[in-house]
């Protein structure tokens, strides 16, 4: 590994100063499951690594009913997935925390790290898109909020400046009478990168049975994780049944621009979007007792 300096700040201010002082060549370290490997193979060569795990603000994991879920950048997937309010209110987030990488990875890696790595295949990202999560970014010019749907700029690219840090992800409270689900397709049972992934979140008015909110997000089928807005529009306002689910799912490829690679072809990935979306929507309906 190319030599680098290492700091482990105890406060957010210290971390911001360290990032600012590195001339754009610092990298924040959360779980390290991406960064350490990237440094080992020379894909990233920071002059300074800033371990953010000892900063109390980065270890915040808190659910406030009127405000939502705060997931600090250093909180591991294991801790997030076991947090009772996540289990209760955000089933798709709980799901992805238990399927990204191995147990060893989940014990270190954070959702914020997965977001900052900005891979099109990041499993934690589609559920965040369906809940309209916000990224709280801090840097030398203060603090700003970026909606997760505007965070990604391409494979491995995002809107954060080199001297900025992702402090936490805020996930708004889910709508009443809603459920969210995520499914991915991998050739193995565990430990693989999604050929395609789909998250759905729908809210249904209990009286009219009509869908009041629909969110569908897809992974591994475009340069960034994407919302399938055409499909969402089919669901909203409708009584969701098998026909409506099919019609919505069939439109998901509109949002995609997949590549053919060793994991799957363009056509296969588009077909997976339909199938996975259909199944996640069926699971959501089942969760809602419909």
């Amino acid at each position: 590994m190319r030599p680098f300096a290492f700091v482990s700040p105890r406060t957010l201010d210290e971390a911001v100063q360290a990032m600012a002082g590195a001339g754009g060549n610092a990298r924040a370290l959360a779980g390290g499951s991406d960064l350490v490997d990237q440094m080992r193979v020379g894909r990233r060569t920071p002059s300074l690594v800033v371990d953010i795990k000892n900063i109390p603000d980065m270890q915040r994991l808190e659910y406030i009913p009127e405000d939502g879920l705060h997931i600090g950048a250093g909180v591991s997937c294991t801790r997030t997935g076991e947090y009772a309010p996540v289990v209760e209110h955000y089933p798709s987030i709980k799901e992805v925390c238990g399927l990204i990488g191995s147990t060893q990875i989940q014990n270190r890696a954070s959702i914020a790290g997965n977001v900052c790595n900005s891979a099109p295949s990041g499993d934690t990202i589609p559920p965040l898109l369906t809940y309209d999560a916000r990224c709280i970014v801090v840097g030398p010019n203060g603090r700003r909020e970026v909606p997760i749907a505007e965070f990604f700029a391409g494979p491995g690219q995002n809107v954060m400046a080199a001297d900025e840090l992702l402090l936490e992800i805020v996930v708004p409270p889910p709508p009443a009478n809603s459920s969210g689900r995520y499914l991915r397709f991998i050739p193995r049972e565990e430990m693989d990168i999604a050929v395609a992934g789909a998250a759905s979140m729908i809210a249904v008015d209990p009286a009219s049975k009509r869908c009041t909110t629909a969110r569908i997000a897809l992974a591994s089928v475009a340069p960034t994780p994407v919302r399938a807005r055409d499909a969402e529009a089919v669901l909203e306002g409708q009584v969701v049944n098998a026909d409506v689910i099919k019609a919505a799912s069939d439109l998901t490829p509109n949002a995609t621009s997949p590549i053919s690679d060793v994991r799957g072809s363009v056509e296969y990935r588009k077909e997976l979007c339909k199938v996975l979306t259909q199944r996640t929507l069926e699971h959501c309906l089942a969760d809602l007792g419909m």
Binding site: M1, F4, S8, G32, V36, T103, Q104, R108, E190
Partner: protein
């Protein structure tokens, strides 16, 4: 806050003993354990978090030591395969692997045993499916896993 491009002190507990060692910031925990502390029971396989041969336990949780920088262990409790046995008394997971012949070449075994120990500490009564998922981060290229699963299941609470 000091930025260290040379060696920095790492203070942690390894297998119940206080350790203080100078490490390079770019040394992984795996390298620190093997090259500085001479604890060579922990193995290097893929070096990228796929095979789990380097699994150690930090504060009760299984982690890939190849993806952890040595300095990240500062202030933490690290357990390696060398720290499992109680004197001459093998840990139950070690004994189960031996009694079931759950290894051939043995290279993956320390990682499997550390993963299994951490898993059983948290899930003393798993189903076989839960166990297989729990240790999916460890690869074995000899056994086909069957004996490993049987060994670990033999010591679960029935």
């Amino acid at each position: 806050m000091e930025q260290t491009i040379r060696k920095a002190p790492l203070q942690c507990r390894v297998n119940g003993e206080n350790v203080e060692v100078l490490v390079k910031p770019w040394q992984t925990l795996l390298e620190v354990l093997r090259d500085e502390l001479r604890l060579t029971g922990t193995k290097e396989g893929c070096s990228n978090g796929n095979c789990g041969a380097c699994t150690v336990i930090i504060d009760g949780q299984a982690v890939d030591s190849c993806l952890t920088l040595g300095l990240e262990a500062d202030g933490h409790e690290v357990t390696t395969i060398e720290g499992l046995a109680d004197g001459a008394e093998l840990h139950p997971v070690q004994r189960a692997f031996m009694e079931h012949g759950a290894l051939q070449c043995g290279f993956c075994t320390p990682g499997f045993i550390m993963s299994a120990k951490a898993f059983l500490d948290k899930h003393p009564n798993p189903t076989e499916t839960e166990l297989r998922t729990g240790i999916a981060g460890n690869l074995c290229r000899c056994t086909g896993y069957d004996k490993i699963i049987k060994a670990i299941m033999s010591i679960t609470e029935k």
